[in-house]
């Protein structure tokens, strides 16, 4: 039988440790705690198809992460996906004719938005929409395009393309 | 021993009947189908020491469970202090049990509490007495069983006899009206036995507590019992004072009181004929 004091202290320590672990999980391994809200600005872009893009995906320029995807909505009037990005204030001076594309990291990796700088002297302002948005490259449509094209040119000799595993 | 204004200030019923517990025509079977009681009649007088005796396996402990409401009779009635035990709900049952104390065969002390806290346990659970008063009451009760000095020990550190005395202190801490002893002498050395015997008698005479003692130690209990019941085969086979039992005509009472190996309770467990089984070579018929 241990004294109540020892029990109280150990229990307190244990509970504290548990909550610290929960806090660590919530802030350190999700994109929640990684907040850019205080010193950042917003850009939007509309895509025909965003593929597998998710909120929290990185926004990068030349491979450097400069922000994250904050929100993805579907616009019922334009029939397009509206993606809202949070860009860090450090990268204020992005030319306002830069375009956004959705890329895939590696063959099967997650998707991210890459910004390619334009030549304008005027930077994007907070809340502005990116002029040019290139859609995600969807593997299946690429394959089928290739298949149908080759089938149209050489009937009867369709090459069975080695279909890579579908995403997810 | 002082009958101080304890927490369980007993609210005696207006009309005190002379018997505090009555069992009428009780039948009881255990789950496996074995019959324990078939028509048991027992009446326990208020303020007396009543001994319940009988060979092992005659359901003495079951009888205690019936009186304390831990099990219910299949048939018949168990009335304790005017209340039909079978008809009580949980709350009433607990109210009834607060007026009882029970000494278990092995003490049944709570192993995670020390001696002091074990005795204080019912007080802490049922009352909101200030710590100073609890201390006074517990030390008084421990003093009564002669173990005031052992207050800080844990149950594992106590000998069998000491554990039983602590359990007794715990059983009387709420100043019960009925004290039930389950085999209080089993496994004790002669000195501890003498101590327990003295305690049962002094508690009964000083506090007027009704005592029910279940035992098979005939010699010890006959020194203090006011009346005795002998159980066998699911019934009471004999009842009366110690002297009356000694001269009882029934052979089974004679066998039990004098401790004979063979008699109506046979030495041999029922078996097929001895020679036939030895020669036949088949063990199980």
């Amino acid at each position: 039988m241990r004294s109540t004091r020892t029990i109280d202290i150990s229990t307190g320590l244990f509970v504290l440790l548990g909550f610290a672990a929960i806090l660590f999980m919530v802030t350190q391994i999700t994109n929640r705690g990684y907040s850019l809200k205080s010193d950042s600005y917003r850009l939007t872009a509309s895509f025909e198809n965003i593929g597998g893009l998710k909120t929290g995906a990185p926004v990068s320029m030349a491979g450097v992460t400069i922000g994250r995807v904050e929100d993805i909505q579907y616009d019922m009037k334009l029939y397009k996906a509206i993606v809202t990005m949070r860009i860090s204030d450090k990268y204020r001076a992005i030319p306002n004719d830069s375009d956004a594309s959705i890329y895939t990291a590696g063959l099967l990796g997650g998707q991210y938005i890459g910004l390619t700088p334009g030549g304008s002297d005027v930077p994007y302002k907070d809340g502005e929409q990116v002029i040019m948005a290139n859609d995600a490259i969807v593997l299946e449509s690429l394959i089928s395009k290739y298949l149908f094209n080759s089938a149209a040119t050489k009937p009867g000799a369709s090459t069975p393309a080695p279909a890579p595993a579908a995403q997810e | 021993m002082n009958n101080q204004s304890g927490p369980a200030a007993a609210s005696a019923p207006a009309v005190q009947s002379p018997s505090i517990a009555v069992l009428r025509d009780v039948h009881f079977d255990v789950d496996s189908g074995k019959t324990v009681f078939s028509g048991l009649d027992i009446e326990i007088r208020r303020g007396a020491i009543t001994a319940i005796m009988g060979p092992s396996g005659t359901g003495k402990t079951t009888l205690l469970k019936l009186i304390t409401g831990q099990v219910c009779a299949d048939h018949g009635q168990v009335v304790v202090d005017g209340l039909d035990v079978a008809r009580l709900n949980r709350k009433q049952m607990y109210a009834m049990r607060r007026r009882m104390g029970m000494l278990f065969q092995n003490g049944a002390l709570l192993t995670d509490l020390d001696v002091f806290e074990n005795v204080a346990f019912p007080l802490r659970e049922h009352t909101r007495l200030p710590e100073r008063l609890i201390r006074t009451i517990v030390l008084t009760k421990l003093h009564a069983v002669g173990l005031r000095g052992a207050a800080e020990l844990f149950p594992q550190q106590l000998s069998g006899g000491m554990g039983r005395r602590v359990a007794l202190a715990r059983a009387i801490v709420m100043d019960p009206e009925i004290l039930i002893y389950d085999e209080p002498f089993a496994g004790l050395d002669p000195i501890s036995m003498g101590v327990v015997l003295r305690l049962i008698r002094s508690l009964n005479s000083a506090l007027g507590i009704t005592s029910i003692v279940v035992t098979h130690d005939v010699r010890e209990i006959s020194q203090i019992a006011d009346s005795s019941f002998i159980l066998a085969e699911g019934k009471v086979v004999a009842s009366g004072t110690t002297a009356e039992l000694r001269d009882h005509p029934s052979p089974i009472v004679h066998q039990f009181v004098d401790g004979l190996a063979d008699g109506p309770v046979p030495f041999h467990y029922p078996a097929p004929e001895y020679h036939a089984q030895l020669l036949g070579g088949k063990v199980f018929a």
Binding site: P58, A105, G110 | Q70
Partner: protein, 256 residues
């Protein structure tokens, strides 16, 4: 043939009876729950007994599970040239599955058996009967705090297990194999959703309820003999493990 059928029906009825008894037991606990919460002292003691006392084994196992995940994950991911996803793979598998399930199994083995043995011994040494006679409800005084202690401790243990395992995987992946530390954590961050954490914690809570309930039920209803106590602890581990895995499937299916 008839006998086999009859035996089957018989054992099925016994099974149903046991389930019914367990449900009744759980309902009784639920009824006295509010009054039990009024007395935090015994609950704190049980959080200590089940939680703090399991900490060492949980952290040790967490570290090694994490290191194994680091090894296996690295080996698998390098085949696709995507070892920077090691963090993501470890985090997701730990949060959703391994964390709650392995913790529950360890919990059943460490705290569950201790609870069952303790209650079984209390039953065998008449301590529970003594409480009944002293007009103290053992369900309220003994069973409920132990149950609640387990329920409170479990999600905390799961969280600690997961975090320790993440560092274990980082140790192997980053320190031994040279996966970039930045990409280990940042890929994890970009892939892990808050709902993954919620799934882990919900599973931890549900497993905590199930394992604690089974442990206190088996202990409380143990046969009052040495053999009965032994059997209660064995049953606790076996039933807890099976129920945990079944519940895991149900929860996973309902949360995907």
């Amino acid at each position: 043939m008839i006998t086999i059928l009859r035996e089957f029906v018989q054992s099925f009825l016994t099974f149903l009876e046991r389930v019914g008894l367990l449900v009744r037991f759980a309902l009784r606990l639920a009824v006295i729950l509010p009054s039990g919460l009024l007395r935090p002292r015994p609950i704190i003691e049980q959080v200590y007994n089940t939680g703090a006392m399991s900490l060492v084994i949980i952290m040790t196992c967490g570290l090694f599970i994490g290191m194994v995940l680091g090894l296996q994950g690295y080996d698998l991911l390098t085949r696709f040239g995507s070892e920077e996803y090691l963090g993501t793979a470890t985090a997701i598998s730990l949060l959703r599955e391994l964390g709650p399930v392995v913790t529950a199994l360890l919990f059943a083995g460490r705290a569950g058996t201790a609870l069952a043995a303790e209650l079984g011994l209390m039953r065998a040494t008449d301590q529970i009967a003594a409480m009944e006679i002293m007009a103290v409800d053992p369900m309220r005084r003994v069973v409920l705090p132990r149950f609640l202690g387990g329920v409170i401790a479990m999600p905390l243990l799961v969280s600690i297990f997961i975090v320790v395992a993440l560092f274990g995987a980082q140790l192997v992946g980053v320190e031994f194999f040279g996966v970039d530390s930045g990409s280990y954590w940042s890929q994890m961050r970009s892939a892990v959703e808050l709902s993954d954490i919620r799934e882990g914690l919900v599973k931890g809570l549900v497993f905590g309820v199930a394992c604690s309930l089974i442990a206190v039920y088996e202990g409380y209803n143990a046969m009052p003999t040495a053999e009965g106590v032994g059997r209660a602890t064995t049953r606790t581990v076996v039933i807890s493990a099976v129920v945990t895995l079944i519940l895991d499937y149900i929860l996973t299916a309902s949360m995907l």
